[in-house]
């Protein structure tokens, strides 16, 4: 039982208002119609800022080929976050023993076999082999618009750190100049967009949560080379604001890994801008409160609410 002095958290408030729906697992929540409506408004805003570039829209399910996942090198960097899909592949006798184990409260997952599917860790992962299959990039490179639920195994009471969350992404493929120009443009645009919503933010150089001691080295490398920037907004904490947008230059990592080549027959470089769908919704709810009717008229207009 909660002590009476314990203060309600932002997550409690979101549950109480019915904006998020508990499932019994930290970081795995349902969303209400209002939550989704705010999100739709945000997605339309992103399209308004990025649509003029005429990106090619592609949508994948929140899962990808295990073979592509292995090739991507994700397990080198983030083994702690990955989620794999396992299935029962036994015979009728195995089924009987499975049911008995469940009945007895034992570990029935022991016999589950890894399927050919893993959960998508970032919206752009399934894209690279698909793009490479089309052959050499045209001279102007390519630009894609993606959105997907993504999975990262990091149970938390912070509503801004969910295990299943949506990520909208624009991914640019081309020469180093083309992709760094794209990222620089979005660093400006992203700030203008969040500025339009009136949310206080800051932009900072950042690193991914690489695993282990070797990961420290990768993180330092990434920061030294200024490969990742984040636009941060205070949600769960003022001291540790949450990354709501990120601007990433992958150099030739994906180009090399998946055999993407430019019109000049060089290894293609890639960059992406990612929008944390739930995080921006939560930033709005935190900043303006859960009663959307009381939000500033200009913000409601920007979001079509």
């Amino acid at each position: 039982m909660l002590a009476k002095t314990e203060t309600a958290t932002f997550l409690d408030e979101l549950f109480d208002q019915g904006l998020l729906i508990e499932t019994g697992v930290d970081g795995l929540y349902g969303r209400s119609g209002l939550f989704e409506a705010i999100g739709d408004g945000f997605q339309n805003l992103v399209t308004r800022y990025g649509g003029a570039d005429d990106p090619e829209v592609v949508r994948f399910p929140p899962a990808m080929s295990r073979q592509v996942f292995e090739k991507s090198g994700y397990m080198k960097s983030f083994p702690q976050l990955a989620g794999t899909v396992h299935c029962f592949c036994g015979n009728p006798a195995d089924h009987v023993s499975l049911l008995q184990t469940i009945e007895q409260g034992g570990d029935w997952t022991d016999g589950q076999k890894a399927s050919e599917i893993v959960l998508t860790p970032a919206a752009c992962y399934p894209l690279y082999p698909t793009a490479a299959k089309r052959g050499t990039l045209p001279a102007e490179g390519r630009l894609f618009d993606l959105m997907s639920y993504c999975f990262r195994h990091e149970p938390s009471k912070d509503p801004a750190r969910q295990q299943f969350f949506r990520m909208r992404e624009f991914v640019r493929m081309g020469t180093p100049d083309q992709v760094t120009e794209f990222r620089a443009a979005w660093l400006e645009r992203g700030q203008a967009m969040i500025g339009e919503l009136g949310l206080p933010f800051m932009v900072d150089v950042a690193n991914d949560p690489f695993f282990g001691r070797a990961g420290k080295m990768l993180a330092v490398n990434q920061r030294d080379q200024r490969l990742k920037f984040e636009l941060l907004i205070a949600i769960e904490s003022e001291e540790k604001p949450t990354a709501c947008l990120s601007f990433n230059y992958h150099q030739d990592h994906f180009g090399k890994t998946f055999g993407l080549t430019t019109a000049g027959d060089e290894v293609a470089h890639t960059a992406c801008v990612g929008f944390g769908h739930e995080r921006v919704i939560l930033a709005l709810l935190k900043h303006y409160g859960t009663n959307v009717k009381r939000w500033p008229a200009s913000v409601r207009q920007s979001l079509g609410l």
Partner: protein, 83 residues
Amino acid sequence: MNIQIREIIARAVELPGGVGDLVDTSDLYEAGMTSFGSVQLMLALEEAFDVEFPERMLNRRLFSSIATIRAALEELRSESVGG
């Protein structure tokens, strides 16, 4: 020591041109060492010299040449001798 470091680089890091043309001050990143290559090099050096690089040493510059690696290893050794 430089010869030993060179051998470890040859073993741990895939460089397009190999280690034959490297001088002690050659930039390993310019020679094609990736971020993952530098991590593999760090782990191989720790094993071979029985040391652990402290967090303050885990940076890009330290692993950028045979000379910088040697300087770091010598610093670690003098620290452990000094107790």
